[in-house]
């Protein structure tokens, strides 16, 4: 690890001793920090029975599960729809017809530059749509636009010779795309696509702000219950590991796919994208 970059030489015995000293000191500081947080938790009585009692009730458990189900439902819908929209917009941006290209570029750039929450609120408040469709529509517009850029850069990153060879064999554009470029591009871009889906999963929590009854909303309902002595911290301690765990699982999957595709002989003519969501810096040429 330490020799993996340009920063250090292989340490000698003296340096190793010094590093060990630093290691012990920093471990002590970090453990102290954790201990302080634990002390604060006990000091403010977060581990009393009344505060953790609600999680024993079936009704509360069902409420949480229903919230989780609603989160996953919104995520599933948004994922499928934004993949569809992304494909459509990418086809538009790669079109041979200038008006189509301009129109899809405009759509993509606009929705990438807008905060996703502004779109969700616009659909929810101004168009007076129900929370779930509003959330899904907002997520679809944003993630679809980002995915369109991911698809497009994937197709463009396939080695030029592939396209030229396909055209030289007399294939039409549709065939060049569907038999040669897109299969390679999708393989290469799969990690980036999955990472963008992690963003979509994280953003489903915005539904909380427009009163969609998702996971966070269920947590809020329990946390504001006076009967259980306002168990806010316990609720956060239950909800966040589940939420973060789901996202981590999906991120880890993206990383796994990335490593796998890099080894695959089918991606020789294209660079596999790292497992990171699409970057966003509008190009001002």
């Amino acid at each position: 690890m330490t020799t993996a970059n340009a920063l250090y030489d292989v340490p000698g015995p003296k340096t190793r001793k010094r590093h060990r000293l630093y290691g012990i000191a920093s471990t002590a500081v970090i453990l102290g920090l954790l201990g302080w947080i634990l002390y604060l938790l006990f000091d403010t009585d977060q581990f009393t029975y009344t505060k953790w009692m609600p999680f024993e009730y079936k009704g509360i458990q069902e409420l949480l599960l229903r919230g989780l189900g609603n989160t996953l439902k919104a995520f599933g819908l948004a994922a499928v729809l934004s993949l569809a929209l992304g494909t459509l917009l990418a086809v538009g941006r790669l079109s041979d017809h200038r008006p189509v290209r301009w129109l899809s570029t405009l759509v993509v750039e606009f929705f990438r530059a807008m905060p996703v929450l502004v779109m969700i609120f616009f659909i929810f408040v101004a168009l007076k749509v129900q929370p779930l469709p509003a959330l899904v529509a907002g997520l679809t517009l944003y993630n679809g636009s980002v995915l369109a850029e991911v698809f497009r850069s994937g197709v463009n990153s396939v080695e030029r010779g592939q396209r030229e060879a396909a055209f030289a064999l007399g294939m039409r554009k549709v065939h060049v795309m569907s038999y040669v470029l897109v299969p390679q591009a999708v393989r290469a871009m799969l990690p980036a696509i999955i990472s963008q889906l992690v963003v979509a999963l994280k953003d489903t929590s915005l539904g909380y702000l427009i009163t969609y009854e998702e996971f966070l909303h269920a947590g809020k309902l329990i946390a504001s219950n006076l009967d259980y002595d306002l168990p806010f911290i316990p609720v956060v301690m239950v909800i966040s590991p589940i939420y973060i765990g789901m996202c981590m699982l999906l991120s880890w999957f993206a990383g796994w796919v990335s490593r796998r595709e890099q080894r695959s002989p089918k991606t020789e003519a294209v660079d596999v994208a790292p497992a990171e969501p699409g970057t966003l810096l509008p190009r001002v040429q």
């Binding site: 920063l7 920093s26 807008m114 609120f121 408040v125 101004a126 806010f232 810096l281």
Partner: protein
């Protein structure tokens, strides 16, 4: 049109609120991100573990959950600050994880030979870092840091829903006053476009000045 002219001060307050949030949170994110990036490449194991855990957890946390936990949770520990400070804290910590990754991959783009050559010339650790490695890393991190800060400006909209004065929150005041909601949102959108395009223009200038095609 008169939605804007009648309520210029409301929009102005919101706009300035968003700019302020973005600015302070950017500073916090850059400082924390730099710290975490240096932790992640440090030769000390426990710091590396800490940096990695920080980045992995925050990158996979929904920002709304973080806002929820920070703005409504920290007061339970007796820490009472204005909501704006909490919002800056949440935004800054969240974004620092992404800044850290951008900086770290920037350091990794510097070829190993550069550091080795610097040391073989007898440069100390500080010299090889400050004169050779970091200047080259800086050039390649401009675009990713720019896009991260744009994402930060857009994420600041969430603060509005937790009753911090910012641009998106202005719609509530204006719809109570009975103004056309669609036009209100058009001007809010224009405000966000101004901010994101300004950041993007700034980073394009930086990149033209210092960026390098590698």
């Amino acid at each position: 049109m008169n939605v804007l002219t009648d309520n210029f001060s409301t929009f102005g307050d919101g706009f300035l609120g968003t700019v302020e949030l973005t600015l302070y949170a950017s500073v916090l994110a850059l400082v924390l991100g730099f710290l975490m990036a240096s932790f992640r490449v440090a030769p000390v194991g426990s710091l590396r573990v800490f940096g990695t855990a920080w980045v992995t957890v925050l990158r996979n946390t929904p920002l709304t959950l973080l806002f929820f936990a920070v703005l409504l949770g920290l007061p339970r520990f007796g820490l009472v600050l204005p909501f704006k400070v909490f919002a800056i804290l949440a935004l800054g910590c969240y974004t620092s994880a992404f800044i850290c990754e951008a900086l770290r991959s920037g350091i990794n783009t510097v070829p190993r030979g550069q550091g080795e050559a610097a040391r073989s010339l007898g440069m100390s650790f500080g010299q090889s870092l400050g004169l050779v490695v970091l200047p080259q890393a800086f050039r390649s991190v401009i675009p990713p840091v720019g896009s991260t800060l744009i994402a930060l400006a857009k994420n600041s909209a969430i603060a509005g829903a937790f009753s911090v004065t910012e641009l998106l929150g202005t719609y509530r005041t204006l719809s109570e006053l009975g103004y056309n909601i669609v036009w209100t949102f058009v001007w809010i959108a224009v405000g966000y476009l101004i901010i994101t395009l300004a950041i993007s223009a700034l980073f394009n200038v930086l990149e033209r000045k210092w960026g390098v095609a590698r």
